[in-house]
């Protein structure tokens, strides 16, 4: 989901104009300044389509209309503006099998809240069925997904992500290994082709588990993962081996993890340090630059004898 989302065409802000709707019934509550839509609700504005079973549109004062009452309008208002102006929907909430479409992307949840002035939509679900954003066959889910409608950036609480498109690098005979990421927070910055995971980031790739407080995933124009940048302290475990450092960069094409900032490698009682430690996650080869260390030969007695 992440790469496709970031590779998509640049998003435009939601167009100006009214919100089109369809439903079975519509109830107006002028005292509460709201409109309720029920039954197969469809809402559309520009290329954004939102579907659900119920919707509540809450009105607020239209700043443009208020300004118009203070100053005479400079241009003649269109018929539609003239008839709809005065109050405008500031927020609408859609509930019940919420489905969102915009371009090639879709999202689903149990409840969606659109803040019109902020141009955001917050999707939530249930513990059993969390909200999800889809692009083709790829999905991104989490406890809560905030979609910025003006930029298509995403802010996800407790995301669950599989970086599928990081798997298909050229020149590797072996089938690719999925990279699964957990974190408390994910922010997808569309324009920067960046996915920023923060707070207790855990990356699973095969038998390797990497932990760090923060990770940036960078993508190329085609949406392929190019680089994972882990910062703020990194802990890597793969089988019996453990490595630590202040920073780590994972090169998706080379499939190597480079630890820097007082890097250390712990392996069967050996402790190696150096300027830099390169871990090849597929072959499990390790390269240490300017290595210094403490080796425990007794731990390697059986090595090289074919045992």
């Amino acid at each position: 989901m992440v790469p496709l989302l970031l590779a998509a065409a640049a998003a435009a802000a939601m167009p100006e104009g009214p919100l089109d709707f369809k439903a079975k019934d519509m109830r107006i509550e002028p005292q509460q300044r709201r409109v309720l839509l029920d039954g197969d609700v469809q809402l559309a504005r520009g290329d954004l389509r939102v579907f659900g079973q119920h919707a509540v549109a809450e009105y607020g004062d239209d700043p443009q209309a208020q300004a118009a009452t203070k100053k005479p309008p400079k241009r003649k208002r269109t018929r539609q503006e003239a008839t709809l102006a005065g109050q405008s929907v500031q927020r609408f909430t859609v509930e019940g099998n919420v489905h969102v479409q915009r371009g090639t992307r879709t999202a689903d949840g149990d409840r969606g809240v659109v803040d019109m002035p902020a141009q955001t939509m917050v999707l939530t679900g249930t513990p059993a069925v969390p909200p999800v954003v889809r692009d083709g066959s790829e999905t991104l889910s989490g406890e809560r997904i905030l979609i910025r409608l003006d930029s298509e950036d995403l802010d996800v609480v407790r995301p669950k992500v599989v970086l599928k498109r990081s798997m298909a690098e050229e020149g590797h005979a072996k089938p690719a290994v999925p990279v699964r990421v957990e974190a408390d927070r994910l922010v997808l910055l569309h324009a920067r082709k960046l996915a920023r995971f923060t707070e207790d980031v855990v990356i699973h790739r095969g038998d390797a588990v990497v932990r760090s407080p923060r990770m940036d995933a960078r993508y190329d124009a085609e949406g392929q993962l190019t680089l994972l940048e882990l910062r703020g302290g990194v802990d890597v475990r793969q089988g019996e081996r453990r490595a630590t450092g202040q920073t780590a960069d994972y090169d998706a094409k080379a499939r190597t993890l480079v630890l820097q900032g007082d890097p250390k490698l712990y392996d069967q009682g050996d402790v190696l340090t150096g300027d830099r430690i390169d871990l090849a996650l597929d072959s499990k080869e390790v390269r240490v630059e300017k290595a210094k260390g403490r080796l425990r030969p007794e731990a390697h007695k059986g090595e090289g004898s074919g045992q």
Binding site: L19, K24, D25, Q31, V35, A57, G86, Q87, V89
Partner: protein, 185 residues
Amino acid sequence: MGSQIASAFSGVIALALVAGCGKPESPTISPISLPEDAPDLSLKGVAFARLAEGRVVARGTADRLDYRRSGGRLEATYGAATLYPQPGTNLASFGATRVVAARVEGEVPARRGTASSGVRLDALRGDTARTEQVHLDGDVLRTDKRVAARGPGYQVDGNGLFARTDGSVIQFTGGVVGKLQAGTR
């Protein structure tokens, strides 16, 4: 909105009740020429005001109003009423509301009636609604005809209407399509 239409009915119905208390014969119609279904009272160029607790709550006109004692039936043509909702009520936010219908039929005791042939509503707040026919039954106003309405921040075309005369429910039914004015940054 719909409930104001209902209140307009009430106004016209009240007028008929008041009129019904007078002599049944119309001075302009000869009793000899009365057909079997002739009204007991027929008025032309009617104007009325409805008072409640010393306050005008509705006023209106009709080109013609016929009343039959049997069943308390009334018929009005080209009726128009302006309703003044009591402050603080559900209807108050609409402001004074004018309701027009080319034809109104009703049964006063049963509090039942039908307005038809171009029913129009215009509220001071800016709400307008149009439909071909609407029925009042007790405190419920409903139609299964097309309704086109618009007002501050909305515009809707529906295939029916269900409303309570106190304004507590105003619902467009049977499939609705429309637009909501949406805020921007």
